[in-house]
């Protein structure tokens, strides 16, 4: 019988680390772009969204992994969808009860987590074929990777688009007096795409392996 793998073996730690960089769900796997554009106008909703996605992703991964030998392949997509939708509804209800202000800011986007490709993508690509603990770590890792990008993008969008961070004014009045103005475009989705593009550019300059061979 094979040795039980230690909880935080090198292989398992890779599951946590890789999605932060070389297999980042947004910048490398190109999943979950929609919410990266919509939710990143300000930092606070972006962080709450990240936490919601981390919870939904890791728990769904574990559930599917536990059921992986029982799910009939013919209905596996439907089963994945049911699990994701249930988790998202639970998260939405909890937000409305315990974090009402933020749930209003996120409004429809919490429900849209169901359509976030990252979740379905990881369930298909990993949870169906792996044990619960590694699946949990994979969920956490990809959730963090998603969150990292969301936080970077919303940091710049809020700072440059509204002059605030977490709603607190950060750019001093003196800057405005000498002619500095908030970049109105940063508040609109196209700039989010540009910021993500810049992040991808920086990432690929530093890690040449990510560039596709011609």
């Amino acid at each position: 019988m094979t040795e039980k793998e230690p909880l935080f073996s090198a292989k398992n730690l890779k599951l946590l680390k890789e999605p932060l960089g070389q297999s980042n769900p947004i910048t490398v796997q190109v999943l979950g772009i929609c919410s990266a554009l919509a939710i990143t106008v300000q930092l606070k909703p972006a962080i709450v969204m990240t936490l919601a996605v981390i919870v939904v992703l890791s728990v769904s991964n574990v559930v599917i992994s536990l059921l992986r030998k029982m799910i009939p392949p013919r209905i596996r997509i439907i089963v994945q969808l049911v699990v994701i939708a249930t988790m998202v509804i639970v998260v939405d209800q909890v937000l409305q009860a315990y974090a009402y202000e933020v749930s209003k800011q996120l409004s429809v986007f919490v429900g849209l987590i169901i359509t976030n490709c990252i979740i379905m993508g990881r369930l298909e690509a990993f949870a169906l074929a792996n044990k619960p603990w590694p699946s949990f770590l994979d969920g956490l890792g990809n959730g963090f990777g998603y969150g990292l990008i969301l936080i970077i993008v919303s940091f710049f969008r809020e700072l440059l688009g509204s002059g605030t961070l977490f709603g607190i004014k950060v750019i001093p009045e003196s800057f405005y007096d000498i002619g500095y103005a908030n970049n109105g475009m940063m508040v609109l989705p196209p700039m989010a795409l540009v910021v993500v593009g810049v992040i991808i550019w920086i990432q690929r300059s530093r890690n040449k392996d990510l560039i596709e061979q011609k």
Binding site: I71, I75, V82, V94, A97, Y98, Y100, S107, V108
Partner: protein
């Protein structure tokens, strides 16, 4: 590869659906009281903010207690009128406000109209009315407060369920809501004209209009329609009230 029989697939699906249904019903039921309390506090907070109160909301530790306290302190009276302006003494204003969706679905002549009376520390009175209408993606609503002349707007607070952040959702911002201060719903001859939400015109000198939101045309039109419709319901009452005041 193991092949799953149709019976298995069927039973699996049924069991899964039943478990999910039980789980979700349980969660919804447990959390409902908290969610309703949140909505109630939010309404009270909006009513207070339409007259410029409850400004320390985000700083206090127990927001719910703070709002309840402020509400009891400043909202000295409330009543409900019908379209003709007659007071409905067996109706509660806050109750009707909680069920405003029901009211707004009716024809304006059949609705009940709540009014909240604010009394400031210096004894000034303002009159606050709830409004509700349709935005682009979902309902929009708000609370508008009037000076005792029942004509000039003192403050407004608007909100929405699903409007687009940065576009229609801008109705819920200080700058848009602030535009309404000082606007009037009756013209110099006493005709009801509401406060219109207009595009492509400069509304600064116009006491009966505000600027629409760039990129949020349909929401702005919805708000325009909402005010026109809802204020219209209060016209008879306001004309009476002015004489009293």
């Amino acid at each position: 590869m193991k092949s799953y029989s149709n019976t298995y697939i069927f039973i699996f699906s049924v069991v899964m659906v039943v478990i999910v249904a039980i789980l979700l019903s349980f969660v919804a039921m447990k959390l409902k009281p908290l969610q309703e309390l949140n909505r109630e506090i939010e309404r009270k907070s909006d009513i207070l903010r339409s007259v410029g109160e409850a400004s320390e909301e985000s700083d206090v530790k127990d927001k719910n207690a703070y709002i309840e306290q402020e509400f009891d302190k400043y909202i000295s009276d409330s009543y409900v009128v019908d379209y003709s302006g007659e007071v409905q003494s067996n109706e509660d204003a806050f109750d009707i406000t909680l069920k405003i969706k029901e009211q707004s679905d009716k024809d304006v002549k059949d609705r009940l109209f709540p009014v909240f009376v604010y009394t400031s520390e210096t004894g000034d009175h303002k009159y606050i009315v709830p409004v509700r209408g349709k935005g682009l993606w979902g309902p929009i609503w708000g609370y508008v407060s009037f000076d005792p002349d029942m004509n000039t707007i003192f403050g407004a607070v608007y909100d929405h369920a699903k409007e687009t952040p940065g576009l229609g959702a801008e109705i819920n911002t200080d700058w848009f809501e602030g535009d309404f201060k000082g606007k009037q719903i009756f013209d110099d001859e006493g005709n009801y004209v509401s406060v219109r939400v207009l595009k492509n015109t400069d509304t600064k000198g116009n006491p009966h209009a505000v600027d629409a939101i760039s990129g949020g045309t349909i929401t702005s039109m919805g708000l325009d329609e909402m005010l026109l419709d809802y204020f219209g319901g209060y016209v008879n009452h306001f004309k009476e009230k002015v004489k009293e005041n």
